[in-house]
């Protein structure tokens, strides 16, 4: 009887040992998981802190003595809280940063606010007034050589009319070398792809019609190679 009991104890011990090892390695992997979770949490906190240092830009929709309201490009409304002693104001013009005052900001101006962001409210450290630029691309649907404009259809199915002025930079991609070559409107065809940049003043007469600052053409032949 004693021998059998001894055998049973040995058997149980032999079976339990690797099981205990499995448990130990499992708990060490748990520790690793906890450490990974801690690292992830720390990086998330760092990211959030960094996020607070981002800029928010939009068109001024209302002005009060303590705050501005703006509407961003994606139609989100933000409140820009100002501190009369701390917030600084700058005008960006001709690639220069000039000092300005709060009273210079008018409704319809395009501003960039920097400072901590929480729940669509920015506690502004600095406010910059800048020119609003839009960039986009699409397929050319019309080239008008009489009135000098190009119509494009974007992948989002929006139509843009771009007025081509004498100072509009016009470039075309060389389909062999991919270098950008100056071009003229007469070389642009329907079906080509166009990239553009244009200034938005807010005083446009027609929806989605802008004076192009520059255009870049990808000839349709590039895609037929």
């Amino acid at each position: 009887m004693k021998k059998i009991l001894l055998l049973l104890i040995i058997l149980v011990f032999v079976f339990q040992t690797p099981f205990s090892y499995a448990q130990v390695s499992s708990s060490s992997s748990d520790l690793k998981d906890i450490q990974q979770f801690k690292d992830k949490l720390a990086s998330q906190v760092a990211q959030l802190a960094k996020k607070n240092d981002l800029a928010t830009a939009g068109v001024v929709t209302s002005i009060s003595s303590t705050a501005l309201k703006i509407q961003t490009r994606d139609d989100t409304a933000y409140q820009i809280k100002i501190d009369k002693d701390l917030t600084k104001y700058y005008l960006i013009q001709n690639n220069q940063q000039l000092d300005m005052s709060f009273s210079d900001i008018k409704k319809g101006a395009y501003i960039i606010a920097t400072g901590p962001i929480a729940s669509q409210t920015v506690n502004a450290n600095d406010i910059y007034q800048d020119e609003q630029i839009i960039v986009g691309s699409g397929k050319i649907t019309e080239v008008n050589l009489t009135d000098y404009y190009i119509k494009i259809l974007t992948s989002e199915k929006d139509t843009f009319t771009l007025d081509i002025k004498t100072n509009t930079k016009k470039n075309m991609i060389d389909i062999k070398t991919l270098e950008l070559q100056p071009t003229t409107l007469s070389k642009v065809k329907e079906g080509d792809t166009l990239h553009f940049a244009a200034g938005k003043t807010g005083k446009e007469q027609e929806k989605n019609r802008y004076s192009a600052l520059k255009i870049l053409i990808i000839p349709q032949e590039y895609f037929q190679k």
């Binding site: 049973l8 800029a55 839009i134 940049a197």
Partner: protein, 141 residues
Amino acid sequence: MKKEIVVAIVFGVVLGLIVAVIMIIKLRQLEGKKNGPFSNEAQISPEVKNTAQIQQLVITQPSDGTIVGQNSVTIKGKASKNSLIVVESAIKDQAFKNDKGDFSIDFPLARGENVIDIAVYPQNSQLSSQKKTVKVYWLKE
């Protein structure tokens, strides 16, 4: 044979079986963890191949809304191999072939807001183009 001996033997065998079953389950779980979720090549290889074929445009740097203190920024990302990439802002256009899949370019900035469009035209013209826009602000000195 005494009754106690039979009971002890049966108890021992049952206990051994239980321990063996638990061990097998635990060891399988551990093996699964070691090899990760993609150990079975036959199961995942077709999906991986598909993903490789339609590489989505990813911009890893800079984040949208980034503020910088200099007149250029490094744009890094991933796009399908041999695609045409066009990077455009108000002051600069750049076009290049994405030979490696990953790309990295230095791109000039104007003071203030820079809206940068990154468009990818895959080599296979049957696949649709992709586009991402990032806004980078050169504000700090």
